[in-house]
């Protein structure tokens, strides 16, 4: 078995922009790849978050019951949990739906804004389905920052956090230090 630090990334209710920013590390990714084992990530085909993770970078707000399940699992299997980006840190854009009821959100998203006939719906009639009902996790009442659900060790704000900030955080963690990225990123960066 490898003795390299086990690093994971995860994607909750966000736009994947934080992962894109991570990928924007460009050639530094090659250095990083030699230093760590990426054991779980949207780019790694693993269905369940693994055990004994040293560092987990988590993007996105906690918005659905699946997110809730995932973040608790991630927390229980991770030494250092990093809230990556504004959605994870503040709720950000996903939390803007907190002003509305879930019923009105579904009506807006799946009926008023639907431009194709819904499954099972008679063509050119009124919308008849209340929302997705198969294989879509139930939404929580509010989308919330990760640290309102589980303990977070490092907060990295930014929308998305710049690659340099992400690299600084990961490099410091690999060096055994708890990083402070406040000079490299901020809310809305």
């Amino acid at each position: 078995m490898s003795a390299k630090p086990r690093v994971a990334t995860a994607w909750l209710d966000g736009c994947s922009g934080c992962h894109m920013s991570f990928l924007d590390l460009d050639e530094k990714l090659v250095d990083l790849a030699g230093m760590v084992d990426v054991v779980c990530s949207p780019t790694v085909d693993i269905k369940e978050f693994p055990q004994n993770v040293d560092v987990a970078l988590v993007e996105g707000a906690v918005s659905s019951e699946e997110d809730l399940h995932k973040i608790k699992l991630i927390r229980s299997r991770t030494k250092i949990l990093v809230s990556l980006g504004d959605c994870a840190v503040t709720g950000n854009v996903p939390a803007m739906r907190n002003f509305f009821t879930i019923e009105s959100l579904f009506k807006r998203a799946y009926q008023e804004n639907a431009d194709v006939p819904l499954r099972g719906e008679p063509a050119s009639t009124g919308r008849s389905i209340d929302g997705p009902c198969v294989a879509v996790p139930k939404l929580c009442e509010n989308a919330r920052p990760i640290h309102e659900i589980v303990k977070v060790d490092v907060h990295v704000p930014g929308c998305p956090p710049p690659p340099d900030a992400i690299f600084h955080v990961v490099a410091e963690l690999l060096a055994g230090r708890i990083p402070d990225a406040s000079s490299l990123t901020r809310f809305g960066k």
């Binding site: 809230s83 504004d86 840190v89 503040t90 709720g91 950000n92 854009v93 939390a95 803007m96 907190n98 002003f99 509010n142 919330r144 920052p145 640290h147 309102e148 977070v152 907060h155 990295v156 704000p157 929308c159 402070d180 990225a181 406040s182 901020r186 809310f187 809305g188």
Partner: protein, 248 residues
């Protein structure tokens, strides 16, 4: 400088020089000056939010709180005058804790979504969070949806981004002389209102000068037609007007 709160001092007293200590630095000042003014003259930075050079200080945001030796209380540097022998502490773990708490409470009270704000990157609340090393908010967010008043032809008032600094209220009253703005409600229900709670566009007295927009520290008052991070405020007119008035 601006008129301060009423004081029994005569003109003769006003030029009296006092000596005091700010963060172990011996400084001298005129006795009618505030701690904030004297600190600034001596390159000692005290963070502020509601304070705006050229407007009467308000002392409402409490970001500029300082410690005075011999008192358990904290004092707002923008409205506290210096006195002989005073010892001021502008930075301590206690002050940093309170300043952070104040900024955090401002963030949770309204809906400051920096990533979609017209003032992203040029916001004084955002800058304050950076200065105080705030990387996340420890208090729960309220998610209290607020109205956006787009009734004015040129400008917009977004209560979601207002920190109730009252700069707009003061500049309209003290500089423009129109007094469109006031604060209505109490506590968590406080809101900036135009003309006794009319839509801004219905105000008979608003001159559309834009002074309130350009000294607003956040994206609460903005020009219409601006997208994310596009609002560039130009508050420099205010020190200019003040200097011209003082030299008149």
């Amino acid at each position: 400088m601006t008129t301060m709160t009423a004081s029994p001092s005569s003109a003769a007293h006003d030029i009296q020089v006092v000596t005091l200590k700010i963060d172990d630095q011996e400084v001298s000042a005129s006795r009618n000056q505030t701690i904030l003014q004297v600190a600034a003259e001596n390159q000692i930075e005290i963070p502020t939010l509601c304070f705006m050079p050229g407007l009467k200080p308000m002392g409402s945001c409490r970001i500029c709180l300082v410690e005075l030796a011999g008192s358990p209380r904290l004092f707002a540097a923008c409205v506290t005058r210096v006195s002989e022998g005073m010892t001021v502490i502008t930075d301590s773990p206690r002050l940093r804790k309170y300043r952070k708490q104040i900024v955090e409470l401002l963030f949770v009270e309204r809906n400051h979504v920096c990533s979609v704000c017209v003032s992203n990157g040029r916001c004084e609340l955002q800058a304050l969070a950076v200065k105080l090393g705030i990387t996340h908010i420890t208090q729960p967010y309220r998610y209290d949806k607020m109205v956006v008043d787009s009734s004015h032809d040129l400008f917009r008032l977004d209560h979601n981004r207002c920190v109730l600094c009252t700069r707009c209220v003061r500049v309209c009253d003290q500089i423009e002389g129109a007094h469109v703005w006031d604060v209505a409600g109490r506590g968590i229900d406080c809101r900036i209102t135009a003309d006794l709670n009319l839509p801004w566009g219905d105000s008979d007295v608003c001159t559309s000068c834009g002074k309130c927009v350009h000294i607003c520290p956040t994206g609460a008052l903005t020009e219409k037609g601006t997208a994310v991070a596009e609002m560039r405020k130009q508050p420099d007119f205010l020190p200019y007007l003040t200097i011209m008035r003082e030299n008149h």
